[in-house]
């Protein structure tokens, strides 16, 4: 286990991005029943200003255990915050970072859990919202974290989105992630901001499927220009049908749906697509062996499946 080498109090303003900690948990394919399976922690990385460190952490979470096991059990994203959380305190201890909140995102393929990606966020203007279906088939906030958005936080707890309404309802309707730039001015970002508008620069909506059908959980990530979620957040949309598992030549092509990827290089983008098409699960990219575009040190690629096909990729670069 990596020892604490950084002083948390001095780091907050120096960190470049809101996301500074990443864990990837994997549910191994097994013939055993679900109750006998356990999530395994494959990777844990700390993203500091100067370096990216891989931690030697290992872990196993059963159904409902820890934040990853909770996301697995609840079949939706989970937010964890607060001083009394032993899980959060553990992450603060091992990362050496002033992590404010943990967000666990379940990744499903053909309605079966494949991974749980856990992000640790440090302080910065923005928010994380989990919108889940209620008894009226509307999306309501089931978990949230905000900083610097007090009026927005207050009013959002009373807002509901039917299918197709607002950014969460749009993600629910078509099952696809989307990026909304400058949401305070975007016509499709419907909620009002504070009376003194916080100039949030980015809103990212991620629909989350669950086992045996789409759950209607949607994550909304909000950040400002001073401290974005990641240094580069791309959504790539599948251009053609994805080959089936085992295909030796997966000629998968994706187009960026929201942001210009020209600076990333089309060859690099294609190589990432090909790897995800083969691995068919969350992919971590490190500067050592994986190759990253110039200027980036770390990357996370989360696939969004429709049944067995990959529809979209969320690509976060740090």
């Amino acid at each position: 286990m990596t020892t604490m080498t950084l002083e948390p109090s001095t780091l907050t303003s120096e960190l470049l991005t809101l996301i500074n900690y990443v864990e990837v948990w994997t549910l191994p394919a097994t013939d055993e029943s679900e109750s006998q399976s356990v999530l395994q922690l494959d990777h844990a990385y700390v993203i500091g200003r100067e370096d990216v460190r891989r931690l030697d952490s290992t872990g196993r979470n059963g159904l409902g255990e820890g934040i990853a096991g909770s996301a697995w059990k609840q079949q939706r994203p989970v937010i964890l915050q607060g001083e009394n959380s032993a899980v959060l305190q553990h992450v603060i201890d091992i990362s050496g970072l002033p992590i404010e909140v943990l967000l666990a995102i379940p990744v499903y393929r053909d309605y079966q859990l494949v991974n749980v990606v856990v992000f640790g966020l440090t302080a910065g203007c923005g928010g994380v919202e989990i919108w889940s279906r209620d008894d009226r088939d509307e999306l309501a906030i089931s978990g949230s974290y905000y900083e610097g958005l007090s009026s927005f936080e207050f009013i959002s707890q009373y807002v509901r989105f039917p299918k197709g309404a607002g950014v969460p309802g749009a993600c629910w309707k078509d099952g696809r992630p989307r990026i909304i730039a400058q949401p305070h001015a975007a016509p499709n970002f419907i909620r009002s901001f504070d009376k003194d508008p916080a100039q949030l620069s980015q809103c990212i909506g991620l629909p989350i499927g669950r086992e045996y059908g789409f759950a209607g959980s949607v994550i909304l990530l909000l950040s400002d220009e001073a401290k974005p979620l990641a240094r580069n957040f791309n959504l790539w949309q599948c251009e053609s049908s994805t080959p089936t598992e085992g295909d030796t030549n997966p000629a998968v092509r994706f187009t960026s749906s929201s942001l210009d990827t020209s600076d990333l290089g089309s060859d690099w983008c294609q190589s990432v697509c090909d790897r995800v098409a083969i691995d068919r699960q969350t992919l971590l990219l490190t500067s050592g062996s994986d190759g990253l575009p110039v200027g980036f040190r770390f990357g996370v690629v989360i696939p969004f499946f429709c049944n067995e096909s990959i529809d979209d990729l969320a690509v976060l670069l740090f």
Partner: protein
Amino acid sequence: MSKNTSNRYVEISNLTKAYPNPFGRDIEVVKDFNMILKKGEIVSVIGHSGCGKSTVLTMVAGLNPISAGELAVEGKQISGPGPDRSVVFQSPCLLPWMTTLENVMLGVKQCYPHGTRKQRRQICEHYLNLVGLADSMHKYPREMSGGMQQRVGIARAIALKPQVLLLDEPFGRLDSLTRMDLQDTILEILDREKITTMVITHDVDEAIYMSDRICMMTNGPEATVGQILEVPFARPRVRADVLDHPRYYDFRFALIAFLEKQEHSKDAHIQAVHEKLQQGSEEPVSA
């Protein structure tokens, strides 16, 4: 559509209204409107003029055929107007040759065909009394003010004991004092009778004061639900308490900001719908 439960008393699912367009595809003035009302709930629908609020209400009333989608009250599909749904329009449209009592009696006769004359009269008198017209039962419309005529319209609608009350800008033609008085009258009745109610209004203060939920509609064409706001103030409501609530202006700001954003994006929205019609795209214009 799910079975009848009090939690899904009125179900509006993918409701769409389209009108023929001689130059191309039909124009959908309302598209994929989704909303569920619980039993006894009061829901306001707000939006800019012409966005399709009244179109939604008339479809729920069964007065305007739907182009697509589903509408159900207590699990039963709506196929036309019926006594389970009463409407109060902006103008009360009273029959001028009938007295107040006779105007109310007209609908009561249809809904209580097996009641005695005395029973029907008692029903009319009861509801006219509730709206404060006990002393004006034998007046003709020309002898009454606009506010009094609207009270008759309300009594006429509620006397039918509807399952759903539909109010289409019922206070739109009244002065502010009369409007507030009539709002309180209706709230008193609804608190007592627990009638599921949809109110169309332009007035954000009226929407907050009267409603359990406020449905904000986007601009047309292809108008739909933008978002729904739950109003957490307890019932019965006292106007002064609502206005003094420390969070009242947060709700008010949310509604006004929504309407302003719709206003600012109106031209771009119309342009986008126009281009979509030309391209024949099925994609929704607004998220």
